[in-house]
Symmetry: C2
Subunit: 248 residues, 2 copies
């Protein structure tokens, strides 16, 4: 049974204001929920699921979480799901405190300046996980990493990448120990400029790119070579291409 | 003034069934509509716009299309828009007949096997345009290229890339004049296998990858190297990385 209060609470977590106030967020769908449970980075507070999901669980997971699993009916599920597409589990997790002391040496660090689309941020976090990037530093106006669409599209990479929201200029001043690359439309071809394997890569807003004062802090402006007529690439795609070239 | 009939017709074009029946589709938002008008590949049948959009048009465009521009009010606009986010123009275009006789030599051709997500297909078309790919061959179960979300996310690259829906096996048998690469999770590292600049690249469904009978037709299985723990990459990102490596 699902109380009205619970439904209201879960719905409230669609909004950043309430995620910040209660320090919790929602993950939805069997794959993401199971991976987050197994990973353990985010403490799980409660799970609302159809019996079909509970029956599909391995004994070990079931035993660890049985105290917080609430079996609900399909009609109840629809009331609180953030997504229109049918899923069979919704879980509430506690946000994690990001590690703020990070080492930019021997790593690639990603800087995001004003990414607005949740799907793009999710894709970038998943790309970071694929290419072994441990830390992503976001400007304060970047979309919230705990937005449901971000959580969904990271495919649980959210638990393996450290995401920090801060003042980018200040952060860059304090961490300029490796080369800083700004991804722009009129820089050097990434395939020709021998990118360092230890570096900071900056990706800008979908429509406006990186802000001028952030570009000014870069050691080099870099560009993905184009062979056609498209004006630009999606921010998720652009981040993957630069990371690939760094790792290559 | 917007008649009930027009609203109904535009709404019907959200469904593939009606897009096929009437051979028309909808594009929404100032950027996409303007680019499609300028490109001219798709014949524009009618434009429904707020006066603010019409006023922003260059004289030349205005003159070419003034006979089919209908200025409407904001409350009318909301009735027919496919998107929740406010836009100020919706246009109906005629679908184009794809070129079926294509030359796989001296080109990269992309094969899509069952891509389901409209955003992914849109991103792949945009990537193709960026990397100078002229033709994309889709299995019949790939999402429709005229789906509004696809149209929106291609950013008008839709007009510059030829997209064909057909039986993949038959098509591959008839066009095996260059190497066929299957993108899978257990193939050769793309950075190490010196991909041909004239080739066919195959990308599979988001959850299940390429079907076994399609993989069986490939000359080589290729893989994007991973440096972290993410299980997979988004299909849009994967296509961009393989295209980049081919062009590099």
């Amino acid at each position: 049974m699902l109380s009205k209060q619970t439904v209201k609470y879960i719905q409230s977590l669609q909004h950043k204001k309430f995620r910040d106030e209660f320090n919790e967020f929602v993950a939805e769908g069997p794959k993401v929920v199971k991976e987050l449970l197994l990973n353990g980075k985010f403490e799980c507070k409660s799970i609302y699921a159809l019996s079909i999901w509970v029956q599909s669980l391995e004994q070990e997971i079931l035993e660890s979480f049985q105290n917080i699993i609430h079996v609900i009916e399909e009609h109840e599920f629809q009331k609180m799901a953030h997504y229109a597409t049918p899923n069979n589990v919704v879980a509430i997790f506690k946000k994690a405190i990001p590690a703020t002391k990070i080492d930019v040496k021997k790593n690639i660090t990603l800087i995001l300046d004003g990414i607005q689309d949740p799907g793009n941020l999710g894709t970038i976090i998943r790309n970071a996980d694929w290419f072994g990037v441990k830390n992503i530093i976001c400007s304060r106006n970047t979309v919230d990493m705990y937005n449901s669409k971000v959580v969904q599209s990271t495919m649980a990479s959210l638990a393996r990448v450290n995401v920090i929201y801060t003042d980018l200029k200040e952060w860059l001043l304090n961490n300029h120990e490796v080369n800083i690359y700004a991804t722009v439309l009129n820089g050097s071809n990434i395939a020709e400029c021998n990118l360092d394997k230890e570096c900071i890569i900056m990706i800008g807003n979908e429509a406006n790119g990186l802000s001028a004062d952030i570009i000014a802090m870069a050691d080099k402006k870099i560009t993905i070579p184009s062979f056609g007529l498209a004006e630009s690439l999606n921010a998720g795609v652009a981040s993957a291409l630069v990371l690939y070239e760094c790792r290559r």
